[in-house]
Amino acid sequence: MNFTEVLEKLKAKNEVLESKDEMGVLNVWVSAKTIKNVITFLKNDMQFDQLSFVTAVDLMINNHIEMVYRLFSYETKTEIVIKVKLDRVRPEIETISDIFSTANWHERETSEMFGVKFINHPDPNRLLLPDGVDMPLRKDFKSDDMIPLPKV
């Protein structure tokens, strides 16, 4: 299954905002409302059976938090990246942990690291962070414990 084929099939059933070729991998931007439908479609109809990871990138200049879902198909050996732009002040998105069980922990990590709220998440507790540290992977995070690297 090649690049354009995947995109066409995806476009036929779902709303695609934008798409891009990033080092030979198809990147697709969708809206936050449709994420569940898109992931379900990719899993059931396009044989993308592995969710490699879920994470986010803080695009501070554009005032966005960008969600990144990376899927891989063991059948066709194709990769696809689904991206969703969220508002940086109130990032909210539906959980996909009922479609891919592995998303449960990945979403918990993203939630504490970036402050993204996952609606209907089965276990919305902290995963890795100690108490008193919030959203450390945001670019404007500051902590007294962080000693900057001295300049030589």
Partner: protein, 375 residues
Amino acid sequence: MTIKAPFELEKLSNDEYILNMGPQHPSTHGVLRIVLKLDGEVVKDLYADVGYIHSSVEKMCENKKYEMIMPYTDRLDYLSAVNYNWGYVLAVEKLMGIVVPERAEYIRVMLAELNRIMSHLLWYSAYGMDVGALTPIMYAFREREEVIDIIEGMTGGRLTHNAFRFGGFKNDLPKDFMERLQKFIGHFNDKIDEYEALLINNIILTARTKGVGILSKEKAINYGVTGPSLRGSNCAVDLRKTAPYSIYEKFDFKVCVGKNGDTWDRLKVRMDEMRESTKILKQAMEGIQAGEIMAKVPKIIKPAIGEVYTKVESARGEFGVYLVSDGSDKPYRIKFRSPSFSNLSVLREISIGSKIADVVAIMGSLDLVIPEIDR
């Protein structure tokens, strides 16, 4: 700091009780806390509490230059550190379009396979201790020290090697390397037979592990389980074969799979993998040619704007590096997709309904390394 009780105590029935395992517990391989809800000996529910060794590696990497990140990838997983170096190096090389000379690729493959053997040997001895056999460590560490000596000759480090460079390898092979490797390969297969006779085919261990903690293929894929734990569930996925990187296409080796996906199958897959690794080492020794070990690389590493995801098959599964570059000499965002993270999340699913002693056997068979989960 408050330590949460993940289960609501009021909702427990009369026969149920809570047992806390860890963070300091000999069988959790580091600092992992597991809270179990038990009914007698039977596990009703399980909650894994991680993050006890979270050392903010991803945040630190955002403030460091590309060259300075390499040592941290070693320390994510100190047991197969080479594969973690490799995943990171591949990401930067792919972004910058660097082509690695063939001799360097051969050296990388040899180092990675030696490292895989080293990691599986430690898993073998630790697993023995988990299930109550204290002798396997005496046997496995004998060969492990031999492997470490060979690797130390190549890189100078015992555990954390930091020997990869963007575009090649730090130094050429030492003079006596081939001789030592030949000697090691010559007798290692017999030793694997010895390990199997000692622990894996032992009647007590087979009784304890066969039919315990069954992980079906569909469930494993759904949970993102990779590596030997996935192959134990009869799913022939090995990134060295399915998405070959470096020069792995040149080598002839088998992807070892289990049959039923129970604990014993996962053990057996790792033992077979060591045999396959020696096969690859043998072929690499024959195939290696004289040549350059470093490509021409700019002095200041500044990849172009873009993002990349590379994955390698580490001893535990798919290790991936997701790298976002903004064109400066520091990465904008780096995410390490660690195999143990997903492998641990399946533990709850496969241990509910088993006995409390089996939880230790199942957890050991997943081969977890905690700093890699917590990062």
